[in-house]
Every structure is written in structure tokens, then in C-alpha cells.
């Protein structure tokens, strides 16, 4: 083999490893998207639509709860305006996902539009929590994860639309795999970062919205509520910090004046961290 061929071979092997890694990462989503997608396909089939529409919707829309909502609206004979408003409201939470991915998605190159298109709850959860394998390309790894999840969703919904009425599998409870996935990823976030306040904000905002708002609206409302709480707290901390800094500076000055031959000041460094 020439040097060029060896190199090409190595790259191919690296990509294969990256793909296997993405495959492993997305197994829980596979197990969740198949039954959920099937439920969607089954519903659409029941509403009298050809399976090709299940395929097209999952290919082009690719939003779990959004597609369930669409079936309900189709059955109700809603107008286009209703579709637009309902979809925007339901999926507005995704705007908050993008906000925390601005940096992660910069420099992923030409796959960026697809990554943005394919940003479901589950893909967002995986992308924000999973480390890119050492030496692998971020763009490629993210693309594999997003595309695999997309493929699972399409497969599930077509299966549901085609076989839904024939098959009688007892998959009750299987979609809980996504809840378990979110629980595990939340704990990973807990391990990976030292910040604790977001969890408190989530519990507060989540409980409040669960009690006060309808199940369909609670996610968007709780995300907005939680974000406001985070921003409010950040403002408060920043305010405190500048006050503290002022006090500390004044303190240091008087101390420096008192002990002209000063030792390095060590206390106070704890507050800063």
C-alpha cells in the first residue's frame, strides 16, 4: 500500500469507530423511537392516510409530539393557520435548545443545517451530554447521532403505519426507555458540572407548570420559567460579586497599608471560586 492508501484506510477505520460509537450511544433512542414512531404511524393509518404520508412526515417534519399533534389536527379538519400556530407553540422549546448549542455547533461546517433541522428532545439530550470520542471529528459524530435517531424515527413510523393493524405486540411501557434515558443524562450532567442551581430551578419550574398548566403546555412554559429564574439568579450573583469585589479591594488596600511588608493574601480566595 502506498502512504496515501494507508492514510485513507486509517481515516475510514476512524470513521467506522466513530459510527459504532454513535450507534452505541443511540441504542436507547432506537428502543424509544421504534414504539413511539409505531404509535404515530398507527394513528395516522387509523385516520385514513396512506403509509407514505407517515414516511414523509417523519422524514420532513421529524418532531415526535409535533406529529402526534398534527394527526389530531388532521382528524379535526383544522386549517393551515391552526397548524402553523399550534406547531410553533409546541416546538418553541427547541429555540431554547439552540441557545445552548450556539457554541457547540459553531465550526461543524456543512452538516450544521441538518443538525439544526434534526434537533429533537432526545438528540439534544445526547448532543449536550455525550463526549465526542477522542480524536474523532465533532461534526461527523454529531451527524451520525442525529441521522441515526432520524432513521429510527422514520423506521418506527413506517412500521407502525404498515404493520400497526396486523402486529399485536405488547410494547406497553417500552417508551419509558426515553424517560430512563433522560434520567441517566440528567445524572451525567450532574457529574459533569459543578453547578447545582439549574436542577433546583428545573424542579421549581417543572412542579409549578405541572400543577398550573395543562400537560401539553407544561414543557414550553417550564423552560421559559426556568430560563427566567436562571437569568434572574445570574443578575443577582453578578450584582453581589461586584459588591464583594469592591469590599475586598477596599479590604486589601487597608491591609496593605497596615502591613507594609505584606505576605501574600490568601484568605478571600475561597469566596472567589
Amino acid at each position: 500500500m502506498t502512504e496515501k492508501e494507508v492514510k485513507r484506510h486509517e481515516i475510514r477505520e476512524g470513521n467506522m469507530n466513530l459510527f459504532m460509537s454513535a450507534l452505541k450511544t443511540t441504542v436507547p433512542v432506537f428502543l424509544g423511537y421504534i414504539p413511539l414512531g409505531m404509535a404515530f404511524g398507527f394513528l395516522l393509518d387509523g385516520a385514513g392516510y396512506h403509509w407514505i404520508f407517515a414516511f414523509l412526515m417523519s422524514l420532513l417534519i421529524y418532531a415526535g409530539s409535533g406529529q402526534f399533534l398534527a394527526v389530531a389536527l388532521l382528524a379535526a379538519g383544522a386549517g393551515l393557520t391552526e397548524f402553523v400556530i399550534a406547531t410553533l407553540l409546541l416546538n418553541l422549546r427547541h429555540s431554547f435548545y439552540g441557545l445552548s448549542l450556539l457554541e457547540k455547533f459553531s465550526g461543524v461546517g456543512k452538516v450544521k443545517p441538518y443538525l439544526i433541522f434534526a434537533l429533537t428532545d432526545e438528540t439534544y439530550a445526547l448532543l449536550t451530554t455525550t463526549e465526542v470520542p477522542a480524536g474523532g471529528s465533532k461534526a461527523r459524530f454529531y451527524f451520525y447521532i442525529a441521522a441515526l435517531d432520524h432513521l429510527y424515527w422514520i423506521t418506527g413510523s413506517v412500521l407502525g403505519a404498515v404493520l400497526g393493524s396486523v402486529l399485536d405486540l405488547n410494547l406497553e411501557g417500552m417508551a419509558f426507555v426515553l424517560t430512563a434515558l433522560f434520567v441517566v443524562l440528567t445524572i451525567e450532567q450532574y457529574f459533569n458540572s459543578s453547578v447545582r442551581f439549574p436542577f433546583i430551578a428545573a424542579l421549581g419550574a417543572g412542579a409549578t407548570s405541572l400543577i398550573l398548566f395543562s400537560p401539553d403546555n407544561m414543557l414550553l412554559i417550564s423552560i421559559i420559567l426556568g430560563t427566567l429564574v436562571l437569568m434572574g439568579r445570574e443578575k443577582l450573583v453578578q450584582g453581589n460579586m461586584s459588591v464583594n469585589k469592591g469590599i475586598r479591594q477596599a479590604h486589601a488596600q487597608t491591609r496593605a497599608q497596615a502591613h507594609a511588608a505584606a505576605k501574600p493574601v490568601e484568605d478571600g480566595s475561597r469566596e472567589e471560586s
Binding site: 406547531t87 439530550a125 453547578v195 436542577f199 428545573a202
Partner: protein, 112 residues
Amino acid sequence: MTDTLQMLGTIAVIALATFATRALPFLCFGSREPPSILSTIEKNLPPMILLLLVIYCLKDVQWLAAPYGIPELFTIGVVAGLHFWKRNAMLSIFAGTGLYMVLVQFNVFSFI
């Protein structure tokens, strides 16, 4: 034929609306810096959103009727406990899901 066209149009509209919600922040802050308050909470959003997604998964639980959400809370407890103990994502997720399927399919908490 008109039905098919109408359906295709509807799908296109829903697809565009969905994509718009996902692209919005990238369109807004693609070329200019986001406000500083946003960048400071940027790293705090994922943990908060993930925990909210957990809570969202429980949105349809009937807390005031038997079995009072016990299968869900019990399984989440097992998943979390397993994960804190072994920190093996596959183990936590599959053991938890298997357990939950058994709990609901065999109605294990029916005595409550």
C-alpha cells in the same frame, strides 16, 4: 388528487414551522454575539432542560388515582440509584425500562 396535494401542503407547512423554531436562535445569533446574560446561562440550560424533560415525561401520570404514579417514581428511583452506583448508562436504562414494562404489563402495583 386535491386531497393528496392538500396533505403535502400541510406537511410542508408543519415542517417549515418546526424547522423555524429550531433555527431561530442560530438565525438571531449566527453573526453577532448573543447578549452576555445569555452566554452566562448557556451552560446552565442543558442540565435544567434535561431535568425538565424528565418531569415532562411524567406529565400524564394520574397522581390522585391508583397507582398514584408509583410505578414511574419507583422505576426512576431504581434507574437513578443504579446509575449513581454503577454509572453504566446501558445498564441503568435497560434495567429500568425492563422493570417498568413488567410493572405495568403485569399490573404489579394493583394491590394499591
